[in-house]
C-alpha cells in the first residue's frame, strides 16, 4: 500500500487559474455553480472519468490547475452538450472543457497518445497549411500517431475503400493559401495581444 499526501495546501494551487478560465467568453458562468452534480448525472462518459465533471468545475474554480489539466475527464468529454443543456445554472460546461483542453495542449500536459488532443492538433495543422481537411489523410495520421498497430489492422479495409474510390490519401488544397496564412497570422497576433 502506497501512502500519499492527499491534503491540499494553498501552495498547491495556481493562484488566478480559476479567474483566468472564468474570464474567457462563454466560461463566465462557472462562478454560479452550486455543485449539484447534474452535469455528472447526465454525462454518458462519466462512467470512465477520474474526476466527475462537477469535480472538474470545483477544482477549476478553486485554482487546482495541475490536477484539472492532468485529469482524464477533459479528454473523455465527447462534447455531446448534455451537461450544458441540463445545467440549472446555465453553465456552458462543454465550452469550459474545451478551454481546459486548449490550456492542457498549450502547456504540453496532455496524454500524448490519446486520440482527442492528437486529432485536435492534426486537424488545425492541416487547416492552417492547406485550408481544407482531407479526412482520409487525417484519420490515417491519427491512427499512426496514437495506435499504429490498430492502423495495420485497418489497412485491408483502407485498401478496399481506396480501390472503390471511397477513401483517398490525397491532400486537398484551397487556391489562395497565402491569403489564408495572412488571415490566420493576423488572428494569432490579435490573440497574443489579447
Amino acid at each position: 500500500m502506497e501512502i500519499k499526501r492527499t491534503i491540499k495546501y494553498q501552495a498547491d494551487r495556481v493562484r488566478g487559474f480559476g479567474r483566468e478560465v472564468m474570464s474567457v467568453p462563454g466560461c463566465e458562468k462557472l462562478k454560479d455553480c452550486i455543485q449539484c452534480g447534474t452535469c455528472s448525472g447526465v454525462c454518458p462518459l462519466s462512467i470512465y472519468m477520474d474526476f466527475t465533471p462537477r469535480q472538474v468545475m470545483a477544482l477549476t474554480r478553486e485554482d487546482f490547475k495541475n490536477e484539472v489539466l492532468a485529469s482524464h475527464t477533459i479528454w473523455l468529454c465527447a462534447s455531446c452538450y448534455a451537461c450544458t443543456v441540463e445545467c440549472p445554472r446555465e453553465i456552458r460546461i462543454t465550452d469550459i472543457m474545451y478551454e481546459l483542453k486548449q490550456r492542457a495542449i498549450h502547456e504540453g500536459v496532455y496524454p500524448k497518445r490519446f486520440p482527442i488532443p492528437v486529432l485536435a492538433q492534426e486537424f488545425t495543422t492541416m487547416v492552417r497549411q492547406h485550408g481544407r481537411v482531407s479526412e482520409g489523410l487525417l484519420v490515417t495520421k491519427l491512427y499512426l500517431k496514437t495506435n499504429p498497430i490498430a492502423a495495420l489492422g485497418m489497412a485491408k479495409l483502407g485498401m478496399g475503400l481506396m480501390k472503390t474510390g471511397r477513401f483517398s490519401l490525397k491532400q486537398e488544397n484551397i487556391k489562395q493559401r497565402a491569403d489564408l496564412a495572412r488571415i490566420v497570422a493576423t488572428v494569432d497576433n490579435e490573440s497574443v495581444k489579447a
Partner: protein
Amino acid sequence: MAMEKQNQEPRIGFYVCHCGTNIAGMVDCAEVAHHVGTLPNVVMSKDYKYMCSDPGQELIQKDIAAHGLNRVVVASCSPLLHEHTFRGAVEKGGLNPFFFHMVNIREHDSWVHTDRQEATEKAKALAQAAIGRVAHHKALETKRVDINPTTLVVGAGIAGIHTAMTIANAGKQVVLVEREPTIGGHMAKFDKTFPTLDCAACILTPKMSAAGAHENIRLLSYSEVTKVDGFVGNYKVTIKRKPRYIDEEACIGCQDCIPACVFKTPKFADEFNEGLGKRRPVYIPFPQATPQIVAIDPNVCLNFKKGENGDRVVSDKCKKTCVEACGDKDAIDFTQTERFEEIEVGAIVVATGFQTYDATRSPSYGYGRYDNVYTALEIERLVNASGPTGGHVVMRDGKSEPKSVGIIHCVGSRDKKTNAWCSRVCCMYSMKLAHLLKEHTNAEIYNFYIDVRTPGKGYEEFYGKLLEEGVHFIRGRVGEVTDWAMTPEEEGKLVIRVEDTLAGMVRRIPVDMVVLATGLEPQKDAQDVRRLFNMSCGSEGFFLERHPKLAPVNTFSDGIYIAGACQGPKDIPDTVAQAGAAAAEVLALIDKGYVEQEPNTAFILEDECSGCKSCIPLCPYTAILFDEKTDKAWINEALCKGCGTCVGSCPSGSIVQNLFEDQEIFSEIEGVLAYD
C-alpha cells in the same frame, strides 16, 4: 393663521442632515449650509447630524418660533422615508405642513457619487432649487375619506380562510370568494403536515366549516372577481358566480343525487385526487367540502351534451335521475347561467395561492412517460385515507406496493431554465412523504437533494428523525430517470442516474417508484389577477409586497393586501402568520374609519376649461368626469392620485395640481439652472 403666513414674505429655514456618514461622508454639509445661507429669503441655515432624530425635529420647531420661519427645507434622505416625519415636525412648530419641502441628497447624491467635491456641488444645486420652490408653496389641507368596513378576501385556501376568520371574529363583515366548488385550497389535499405530522384535514376542516357557517362571513364559492373599481376604503367589486347547476339555497347536502346519476360507476378524472380517482358528472369534491353543496360538471354531464353544430342537445340517455333523487327539494337547475354581482368593500386581501410546477416540463424525469413516476401532490392523495386507494400505497397497476422509492427534490426549482427560485417547502414535504411512504410500505426510500433546507421550528429535528429512520439522503441533482437496464438488478425498474456528490461518484439506483418534488410557482392567471387589483409582480411572477421586510402584506395599492403563497412560496405556518398580519392591517385600516388623502390632487380652473374632454380618457384612475350642464370637466378629488397626466395634457393649461403648480416647478428648475 396659516393664511396669514402665506401672505407674508417667505422666511425660509434650511437644514442639511449628515445622516451619520451616509451623507456627510460624500457631501460637505457645512459648505452646503453656508451656501444656502447666502440665498435670498433664507433666514437661517444649519447642518445637523441626524435631522430625523427627536432633537433634530425639536430643532425645527424651536427655530420656527425663534426666527419666525414660515417655510422649511430639509436636505436629507428620500421623501419616501421621512417626508412624513418632517411635515409632522413643521406642523408641531405651528406651520401648515405643506410649507415644507424635502431635498434628497442621499439616494440622489451621496450614495451614488464618488467625487466629494462634485457631490457637494450637486447638493448645493438641489438645495437651491428647493429654496426657490418652497417660497411658492401654499397651505393645503389633507382630506379625510370614510372607509367601508366590509372586506373582500379573494381565495379561500388556508391563507384566505384564516384572514377571513380573523377579521370576522373581530366583528367585521367579510366576503370570501373562492373559484373552486369548495374552499380549502391545496392544504385540503395534503395528508399530514410537517414537522408535527398532524393530519391536515383534522386541523383544516373545522376551520373550513367554521368559515362557512360564520355569521360575519359571506362565502361565495365557485365564483371569481372580474372587475375592481374605486380606491382605498371604497372599492366596487364585480363577482362572477359560475353556474354549478345547483340552487345553493335549496341544496341540503344530502348527496342523494350522486349515486342516482346514470353513470353507475364514476368515470371522470377527479380533480381533487389529482386525477388518480374518478368521479361522476354530479359530484362533491371531497367528503368535508365546504359548502356542502354538489356541483354538476357541464363538460361531462349528458344533459349538457353538445350536438355537431354546437347546439345543446339533451341526450336521450340522460334520464335526469339526479333530479328525481333530489325530489321536492328541487335543487337541480340545468338552466343556471353565469351571474354577475357587484359588492362594495373597503379593503381587499388577495390570497390566491400558487400552482405546482408541471412535471412534464422536465422530460428527463419521465413524468407522463413512465407510469410509476408521480408528483408529490399525487402521493399526498395516495397516502391519504380518504384518497383514491383508501390510503394503500399501490402503483399505477393498482396492485403492487413499491419496495423502493426515489424522491427527487427541486423539480422545476432552483433551475434558471424553469423556476430559478427555491420553493422553500419541498425539502420538508419530501421528507414528510419519505416518512409516510416508509410507514405505509416499509420501502427503501432515497432522497436526492441539492441542499437540504430546513429552516423552521422543529424542522431540523425532523431531518434528524428521518436519518434515524434509515431513509437514504444522496446529495446530487438527478440527471435522468430511465427504464433502460444495464444490469440484471435494474430489469423492470426505473433507474435513477445521479452523481452522489458527497462520495464523488456517479451512481445508478433502481427503484420501483419515483416521486417528483415539484416546486411552487405563480398561478397561471396571476398576471390577470395582478392587473385586476392594480398590484405589481416580482420577476418570478409572485405578487410584490410594498416592502420585503417592513410591509410584507401591503401592496403598492392602498387598501389591497396579500397573504400566503401568492406572494411567494411558503409553508403553512408562515402562510397563517402572514394571513393574520393581513387581517391586522385590514382591521387597523377599517377600525380607524377614515383615510387621509395627500392633497397633491389636481383641480380644474372652471373658467379656463374649454370642455375638450382630452383629459378624461387619459386619467388612469377614472377620476375626471364631465359636467354636461356647464360643459366643463371636473376632478373627483377622492379618486385623484396626483399623477399629473391630465395637467400635462390639458391644451388650455386649465388643470392645476397642488404642490406641483407651474410657479413651483419653474422656480425649482430655475434654482438648479441658476447654480453654477
